[in-house]
Symmetry: C2
Subunit: 189 residues, 2 copies
């Protein structure tokens, strides 16, 4: 054969990875298949040798994003002050400007709720994050705060991206971040 045995599988994965990044960065609707394939040095015609439809790709890209999130959390939540560190990471300028896509939740919140053929992957991402938050919070008996913390993280990032004024945007990130970090340590006072 002209190609290595896993060549097609590798191409498949390259498409999923690039799509995952673009969906998170630009949204699903704003990501065209033609530019996506072109960015990988392929032509758009080959797309349907890999995926049943764009929706099929969305589903696989979401799964990839979930794996991504799991990779990050398994890193961060192995350490001390894990949640505090995660909050710093999540509400950073780099995260807001997310050239790499970042968390799928703030970007795709609208489109995820509107998909015709919904999947449980979004729920899995939410539940996975809550589960990670639970552990460090439970040490202080604060596990009931997992969900409010996640809400504030997602909302803070979404707002920081919406704001046009750079100073306001930073204030949103900073104030939300510092509040949350204080909040998760409160019972230790």
């Amino acid at each position: 054969m002209r190609y290595a045995l896993d060549h097609k599988a590798q191409t498949h994965q390259r498409i999923v990875k690039e799509a995952s990044m673009r969906f998170r960065r630009d949204g699903i609707g704003a990501t065209g298949l033609q530019p996506l394939m072109k960015a990988l040095g392929l032509t758009h015609g080959g797309f349907y040798a890999h995926f049943k439809s764009k929706d099929d790709l969305v589903e696989q890209a979401l799964s990839h994003a979930l794996d991504n999130v799991k990779g990050i959390t398994s890193d961060v939540f192995a350490r001390q002050d894990s949640l505090s560190e995660f909050i710093d990471l999540y509400l950073s300028i780099a995260s807001r400007d997310a050239e790499d896509g970042g968390c799928p939740l703030p970007t795709m919140c609208l489109e995820l709720g509107q998909r015709d053929q919904p999947s449980m992957t979004t729920d899995k991402i939410i539940l996975h994050l809550l589960e990670q938050f639970d552990k460090p919070l439970a040490e202080n008996g604060l596990e009931s705060k997992s969900l409010p913390v996640l809400s504030a993280l997602v909302g803070g990032l979404a707002l920081a991206r919406s704001a046009f004024d750079e100073e306001l945007s930073q204030r949103i990130l900073d104030t939300t971040r510092e509040y949350l970090k204080k909040e998760i340590k409160k019972s230790t006072n």
Copy 2:
């Protein structure tokens, strides 16, 4: 003249109002001008007698949304327990399913940050809400919580809309809501 003197101005306002609702409910990209005009009993050709471009309409619809928000807050924040009531309203099932569009922030967070020709209207909406929150919070010396409260509201609604499982969605609304209401009363304990 065939039409009343303010006929065109009225049509203009009808378009802005309908667009404002659709942009908030479906997003800007997912709202077509043709279906929008048809829903008002008009043909799409007439659109450009009222607006320079779709972007022009977006700007006017955002202004309309700001006025809308101001109307609601001037109602709610005149009363007792205003912020608590606002939180109940914001994180309700009706608000989540928002047939009327609801708050522009959770729906449009992505698109607002990506517009080519950005405007200050989003910032005005954010600042207006923060200002409203400040007053009742300041009574308890909690005005520093305005921003985290807004983040959690926006994020909670966005997450509740993203979740596929109805039970999870309700849990997001309920937990975030109860947490915030407890939080804004904390210093009175």
